[in-house]
Every structure is written in C-alpha cells, then in structure tokens.
C-alpha cells in the first residue's frame, strides 16, 4: 500500500554543502602541502648550494694559499737574483778600482782578491814609489796592510802587499745566510 505518489529520493551524507566544503578544504590543504613541499625543496636547494659554496670556498682558499706561496717564492727569487747581480756589479767595480789604483810605474805580477782582503805581488822601482803611490791608498781602504820587499834582478824591488779588512760582513755571506 502506497502512502505517497512520489518516489523517495536517496539521501546521502555528502550533500552539496558538504561537497563544497570538502572541495574548499582540499584546495586549502593542497595549497598548504604545495607550500610545504616548496619549502622542503628550497631547503634542500639551500643545503646543496651551501655545500657547493663551502667546497668552492675551501678550493679558493687552498688556491690562494698556494698562489701566496708562489708569490713569496718569486719575490725571494727576484731578491736573490738582484743581490747576485749587484754582487757581480760591485765585484766588477772593485776589480776595476783595484787596477786603477795601481800606478803606471808599478807592475803587478799577481793579485789575489779574498773575501776580506787583497794580496798583491809585483815589482816597484823603489820603496818610496810603492809607499806613496800604492800603499797609501791601500791603507785608506784596508784596516791592516803588510808589505815585504826583496830585490829583483834588474835592481827593482819585488813586493808582496797583504791587506785585510776586519769585521767586514761579506756580501756573499749575507746572501748565504738569507738562503
């Protein structure tokens, strides 16, 4: 027996309002999850970037140290080379001065240039010429000067002049000590 002429409609808990609500919440949750995933991805990115930067920084640091060492070494090479060049030039000037020091009337047969001294062998017409023209300038340069004479066959005098400088710091020693 029928009490109504209309067919009963199916009732569901998911009414239109609830469906709307669920969609709304799903969109919200979706946005929240997407934001969270974005943050996770960014964090991972940051960490990997930081790692790369730290590696690059340590590589740069090693390179800088290495280059600094090279710079120091080149500067040392340059310094040593300049000292050697100067030493050779000074030596050249010293030898030139020595030969300029010897007067025309005195003939040298041998010269020994030592680190702190000079030994000259030669012949002189007489002692006076030697004393005035060679020994006097030698005395002004060296701290200690010793001379000895013995007669030569032609009536001239052979001499040996030994000259020393005291407590003079030698240039080559200076270079050695720096090395």
């Amino acid at each position: 027996m029928k009490y109504s002429y209309i067919k009963p409609r199916q009732k569901s808990a998911f009414t239109a309002e609830i469906q709307l609500l669920v969609i709304f919440f799903f969109i919200t949750l979706g946005m929240l999850f997407i934001t969270y995933l974005f943050l996770l991805f960014k964090d991972y990115n940051f960490l990997s970037d930081m790692d790369e930067m730290a590696t690059a920084q340590s590589e740069l640091s090693v390179n800088i140290e290495d280059m600094k060492e090279q710079i120091t070494f080149i500067e040392k090479e340059n310094l040593l080379a300049q000292r050697v060049y100067t030493q050779n030039t000074v030596l050249k000037d010293s030898i030139a001065n020595l030969f300029d020091l010897v007067p025309q009337r005195i003939t040298l047969s041998e010269a020994k240039l030592l680190e702190n001294g000079l030994i000259l062998y030669g012949v002189t017409p007489n002692k006076d010429i030697y004393n005035f023209m060679l020994q006097a300038p030698l005395r002004s340069i060296f701290h200690r000067t010793y001379s000895s004479f013995y007669p030569a066959q032609n009536g001239w005098l052979r001499f040996v002049s030994t000259n020393y400088i005291d407590e003079e710091i030698n240039f080559s020693q200076e270079i050695d000590s720096e090395n």
């Binding site: 740069l60 090479e77 080379a81």
Partner: protein, 183 residues
C-alpha cells in the same frame, strides 16, 4: 528549550572541526617552523654568497698579482729553473777569454728553496776589460750565477791567468709548494 540539530549538521560540524584542527596542526607543527628555517637559510645563503664573492675577488686579485709577477720576472724564474750546462756556458762566454775551463759542479748548499752549486773556473784573458765584460755578461746569462772570492789574477807573459769560483743557484723544485698557477 530544545535544540534541534539535524544529523547532517552534526556531520558538517565534525568534518569542519576535524579539518580545522588538521590545518592548524599542520601549519603550526610543520609549515611555520619550515618557513622560519627557510627564511634563516635564505639569509645565511646570502651571507655565504657574499663571502664567496669576496673570496673570489681576493682570489682574482692574488692571481693577477701572481701573473704580473710571473711576467715581470719571467727571465729570473726561467734562469732559476734552468739546468746549468757547462758547454753552453763556455760557448756563450768564450769571446771574453782566450781559454776557459770549468770544473764539474759540486753542491754547496741545499735548503727548502734554493740549491747552490759551485764550479771552479780557470781562464786566460788579454786584459782586465774582458773580465769586466764577462761579469756584465754573467748577469745577462741563462742562469743565476755569482762570481765568488777568492779571485786570482796572475800575469803570464802578455796574458792574465785568472781563476775564480762561480756559484750557480737553482730553485729547489722539490719544495712543498707548486710552481704553476692553479686555474
């Protein structure tokens, strides 16, 4: 007073409450701390990036200085790296002497940076001027050479016999640092 709430409304309120709680929990427990961490990391990354740029600039400055020094001192560097060749030395400097003889090299000092070898030289020159020219030429030679005391000059007829010691300096390539620029 009787409150009449339909079952549908109860579902609605329950779902709403559940979702709200979930959103709040999710936000406060995960999203907000992560956001804070993100902000902190971003600041830190910016700082690190600035520091790296500073390092890079300094690296470039040092590299430029090194390259500048290498190009300025190219001859000196190659002279320190060159192996002493007695035959080549004699060939290059024989013009200054009538005769030139070199003894074999002997090592006199060896430290972390430089090695020095000694070579005894005997020669014959016609005048001291040749020796001065030789000393000038030694400074322009392919090696770093210093002429050392004692130096002997002895008259022998029209010639002057000379004997002296030369010190040849080398860079010690076994030292700890590398010699090339790291790009």
């Amino acid at each position: 007073m009787k409150i009449n709430i339909s079952r549908q409304h109860i579902y609605l309120i329950a779902i709403l409450t559940f979702l709200l709680v979930f959103v709040l929990l999710f936000s406060f427990a995960l999203l907000i701390p992560k956001g804070k961490e993100y902000r902190k990391n971003r600041v830190e990354l910016k700082k690190e990036s600035k520091e790296l740029r500073r390092y890079q600039n300094f690296h470039n400055e040092v590299e430029n200085r090194l390259k500048e020094l290498q190009s300025e001192n190219r001859n000196i560097i190659s002279a320190f790296d060159a192996t002493f060749d007695p035959y080549r030395f004699q060939k290059q400097h024989r013009n200054y002497f009538s005769a030139l003889t070199l003894s074999p090299l002997s090592k006199v000092s060896d430290d972390d940076e430089f090695i020095a070898y000694e070579v005894n030289t005997t020669s014959e020159i016609s005048s001291p001027k040749s020796f001065y020219e030789f000393l000038d030429a030694v400074n322009k030679s392919d090696w770093i050479i210093s002429v050392e005391f004692p130096i002997n000059f002895k008259r022998d007829g029209e010639m002057i016999k000379s004997s002296f010691t030369m010190k040849v300096f080398y860079a010690n390539n076994d030292r700890n640092s590398t010699t090339k620029v790291t790009e």
